[in-house]
């Protein structure tokens, strides 16, 4: 009884996440198709929002601090990360589920260019799929806890599912066939891929 109820209620609570990971895996698995579809629209992915000249560039030794300052100066909000693109260029990406911005920082020119990424449903889904980790703090960390919970939930579904299967003797034979076929197929992939 406890086993069945754990399987059921955990699944009901985590259903939105499970559906998210299922649906968002489609654009990951068929990325080329979605890229072609978008290319046919002939729309630029990024549009310029603002450009600042003679910008007092923050120190570049610490990329985290650099990103902090850029985000503060541009009044943008969301999770962000700063990435060095070359000796004279650092880009800061600011991300929320619904909007993505990038700030290109041309260090030698003391110029920053703020660009907005056009909304795309496939990017929205893959962005949510890829969101995780405990670096950003706040609500982002709470999301990461739910990512962990979904993973643990999947492990528990396997465990409770196996117990439920074993308690239905009439399904054991074909169950063994399905389980063995799955592990054999998987093992072949690992050996040959």
């Amino acid at each position: 009884m406890i086993n069945r109820r754990t399987h059921l209620y955990l699944a009901l609570f985590l259903l939105p996440w499970f559906l998210l990971y299922g649906i968002s895996s489609i654009p990951f698995s068929h990325g080329q198709y979605f890229e072609e579809l978008d290319k046919a629209k002939k729309l630029p992915l990024y549009t310029k929002v603002e450009e600042r000249l003679n910008y007092a560039m923050p120190p570049t030794e610490d990329l985290k601090a650099f990103g902090d300052q850029i985000v503060k100066d541009t009044n943008l909000s969301g999770n962000y990360g700063a990435y060095r693109q070359g000796p004279n260029r650092i880009d800061v990406y600011i991300y929320t589920f619904w909007q993505s911005m990038q700030v290109k920082c041309f260090l030698d020119e003391r110029r920053i260019l703020v660009e907005k990424r056009r909304f795309r449903w496939d990017h929205f889904l893959t962005g949510m799929h890829a969101k995780g980790g405990f670096e950003q703090g706040g609500v982002s960390d709470a999301w990461a806890v739910l990512v962990d919970l979904t993973s643990v939930g999947m492990l528990l579904w396997v465990l409770t599912g196996l117990i439920m299967w074993w308690r239905i003797p009439s399904t054991r034979k074909w169950g063994w066939v399905a389980l063995a076929a799955g592990f054999l197929t998987f093992a072949l992939f690992i050996a040959r891929l």
């Binding site: 939105p16 499970f18 998210l20 990971y21 299922g22 068929h30 993973s151 579904w157 396997v158």
Partner: protein, 199 residues
Amino acid sequence: MSSVPAPSWSKLTRRAHLYLALFLTPWVLLYALSTLVMNHKARPATPPSWELVSQRTYNGIFPPSAKAKEIAAQLLISLELDGAHRVTQTSDGLIQIQRQAATAPLRITFTPATFDLKIERQLVSTTAWLETMHRRRGFQHPYLLDDAWAFSVDLFIAGVLFWSLSGLWLWWELKSTRILGAVVLAAGIGLFTYFLRVL
């Protein structure tokens, strides 16, 4: 002569839910464990370590004006390592081939000026292996085996969607669980909606 009663829709759904889950158990374990690993990964990630397998001079010839991709394809065939790979060329001309492999990925570095050929094997930890397999998907490689894996990933996606929908159906059939189930489902949707609004 007694006739066997046709299985009900409910029983068919239960059996499909069960057997599909049993078949896809290794994929469920892979994605669950790899997600845990990736969610707790140290950032920036530590670069992978490589061990030298061999270093020698390549004694083949390439067509005139062969591009990096063509050189890589020829090298892999002559080394009997043909398979899914990525090619990059550095600014000083080095051609680097990342030969994907589930258990031992290889890095092959070719210097066009000297025909020097270096093969290195990646030292793969369990966590790195899980992440690599998690990210392996898509039909972009011209190899049947990779397409078969991509198909298995698609089957897993179909499984996730089917388990979600059939699970809802199976829950609704258990009348005694409807009220508490609805509360739990609403709580999950509510929390998810909150994240959608603030993140």
